[in-house]
Symmetry: D2
Subunit: 253 residues, 4 copies
């Protein structure tokens, strides 16, 4: 017997977090139902706008991220669509999407410490960076391999500000950015923006990757479909160079 | 060099199907952006409502479907959230979500034949059922192991009717249901409803599982999080009974 | 209560297909235990040699096959080793390893028909090729995108011959090759060789991909480890070219 | 251009770690080829026996472990065999197989410290347990939810002793077990045995899960095949109990 507080399923009766499924369908936007599933309550108007913006911000970033790259490679082998999308999803890891989880974790911990100690944002940012330096770690959610100013970050942070979600975690992120800029400007990237905003919306940092995941599934489906419908199966996708420098014609004894 | 017509990525510039990412975020609902990704154009008002309803209808059906069941089992082993959700996604197969793909495939083929031959819906339904009988196959998208009347089907079909998406594929589904009812009522299930509606919205049947997939990811994330945050790792989830009837103490030679 | 005839697990007592686990460990080679798991009995000496050769033949084919390619891409994103290997495994599909399953399916069906009808191998091969032509299909397991003569095929078929596994399915494969060579030589590839030999060893064609799978897991583990231990995370692995030819600066309404 | 030192692939020429594939097939046992792939050299006679025993020890533990459980659930949904096995593989995580990786990591680190400091095994074991206690962690690889004395551990450790692989890491494990037994006996489990032996064979702890993975794939294939060939698709595999205690008939506004 498996327990859940998410849903109740009886003949001709499907209830999710207290709402009949047929009352949600077509009445509550998908992003709001996602919020409901995670929080157990419907979002208010501002929360509904913010959650939709968050998941939309992650939908696609072309073929080069490991997730989409892997999804297309697997699609080229003639597998069902879900297998290709699942393979791509497996690439959401420490260095791809993971900055949301790690960033939210650190922000949530240090906002708590900040309140405990009565520090201000600048002070907290400085101490956090010292601590990271001591542990030889970098602050997740800052810098991008392609963008010097990520257009998604600006849009998300602007929205968060307008809708009232620029609270302590966002403020700490900005204080961190200000500290970085004393040496060398390092922008908040899209992962960092999401990390701060979901923390200000009171989501558990352990859900960090979930917001990226659900958005990116949309983009991966489009890429898998493009691969399946426009490319030759088993097309040549990469070229190998061999680096082995031992003997080439060994014999097993 | 990999080609795609989905997106263009340049420093500080992310464009999806012709729209800057920052113009989509917070302006177009997530479901509409999903439509855009698949179709290459934004949905009109009715399409936007319908696509949102379609993906919302699939969000959750409790812990017993193979997708959610597998996701929770894998979550119980202490893995990252994406691994557990991906495992659940792999259960979207021939008999779980697959009726959308197979149903849409058959409906799209037979609507085409119907037009070619100049048959009416009743005639087409009868010939299709004869053909399936000959091949010893069942029409996908009819009947449900729990629901005799699926509340999601009624809601989706009502919406499709109101929004102008009850066209030939839906009509053929209804004609099939009418044929079944001559012997024994067999309702259109939620997969069957989605199959007919996406066909009437002119989606390729090969995308059938995608609508289920993206919805169910939302529910699986909630279940994986519930498992991770409320249950003991490696909890006892099933009980084994051994059925082997050979010798129990063989020796390898 | 889940039933299985594969194993019995009791406190301090683990029995697999009738053998105590501690009697298998170090006494029966891994490949023989794999045979035992599938067949419910230990292989004889020749079967043991053949099954080991079959799974060894699939261990690796460099970085370009979709399985290994995907595994390395996913590994580059900073995920646990099993996630990367699983992603690679998902690429074992219709056109990558699938020829073993499909080839064995066809060979097993047509050997049965051959016996029923009393045809000889040449006659059967000709009728099978006619049938495939009518269905616009190709015979799986013949030809290779790189090798004109696959060294693995020669070795496996030689072994099968020496060990007594060149029976009807292998003979039908050879008859097919002879038919092809009347027009244009088309060699039996490694998938085709495995398909014929497992059929001659009386394995169900539905297990076709399993022999490839277990071998390739070994190679993928080596590649994932090489990626993790020698390459930079998120290294640039492919280059995108955008092909979209619509307007680039659309506005959502 | 992707670099690898694992293999060289040219037309009609497949070379793995310096050996032609056709020279390995049927000459080197699969387990030895796995060793070759990881180490870049063939094992000697004792290493060959030990590596085979290690991977054989992990083949199966019935339907209840998350890996096999998930594989069967996914198989019940009508998916290709590799999808079901991959789903099971994703359950190899922190608390399922992960003790090999974590255990080997700790053993390798503390054997290094022991040599640096000139401590003996007992002293090292005591200091390690103190350190773990301070960090509120448990030593991985000790204790089992079912077995008080794991028959696989005894067999593996006996073999390791006979073949000369009971070196410092195994000795430290035994010292740890002796420390535990002063309070309450806590046996070395199969993960702990593998962790110690692969460390004594000089494998990187980051490969810890690999030995479990490759063995368990064999068992999962057998279980997936049993599910596909003997059970009804979508059979009822678990029962849901709903725990939600909020209102059941909410309305979205």
């Amino acid at each position: 017997m498996w327990k859940t507080s998410i849903s109740k399923i009886e003949p001709n009766h499907i209830v999710t977090r207290g709402y009949r499924q047929e009352d949600l369908i077509g009445n509550a936007p998908f992003a709001s139902v996602f919020f409901l599933l995670l929080k157990g309550r419907m979002p208010d108007t501002n929360e509904a706008k913010m959650i939709d913006a968050l998941i939309t911000s992650s939908v696609d970033h072309g073929v080069t991220p490991p997730s989409t790259h892997a999804a297309r490679v697997v699609a080229s082998a003639g597998v069902p669509l879900p297998s290709a999308v699942a393979a791509g999803m497996l690439a959401v890891g420490d260095v791809h999407g993971g900055a949301i989880e790690d960033g939210a974790h650190i922000l949530q911990e240090w906002v708590r410490i900040m309140h405990e100690k009565g520090w201000n944002f600048k002070e907290t940012a400085q101490r956090l960076l010292e601590q990271l330096k001591k542990e030889k770690k970098r602050m997740p959610g800052f810098g991008h391999r392609i963008h010097t100013e990520d257009p998604r970050t600006n849009r998300l942070c602007g929205l968060a500000n307008d809708l009232g979600f620029s609270k302590d975690h966002t403020k700490l992120s900005i204080a961190l950015r200000d500290e970085f800029s004393k040496k060398k400007p390092l922008p908040i990237n899209v992962d960092g923006a999401i990390a701060a905003i979901i923390s200000d919306m009171d989501f558990d940092w352990r859900l960090g990757k979930a917001f990226f995941l659900i958005g990116r599934v949309a983009g991966m489906i489009a890429h898998v479909y493009e691969e399946m419908s426009t490319q030759k199966a088993m097309r040549r996708m990469c070229v190998q160079e061999t680096e082995y420098d031992g003997p080439w014609e060994r014999q097993p004894e």
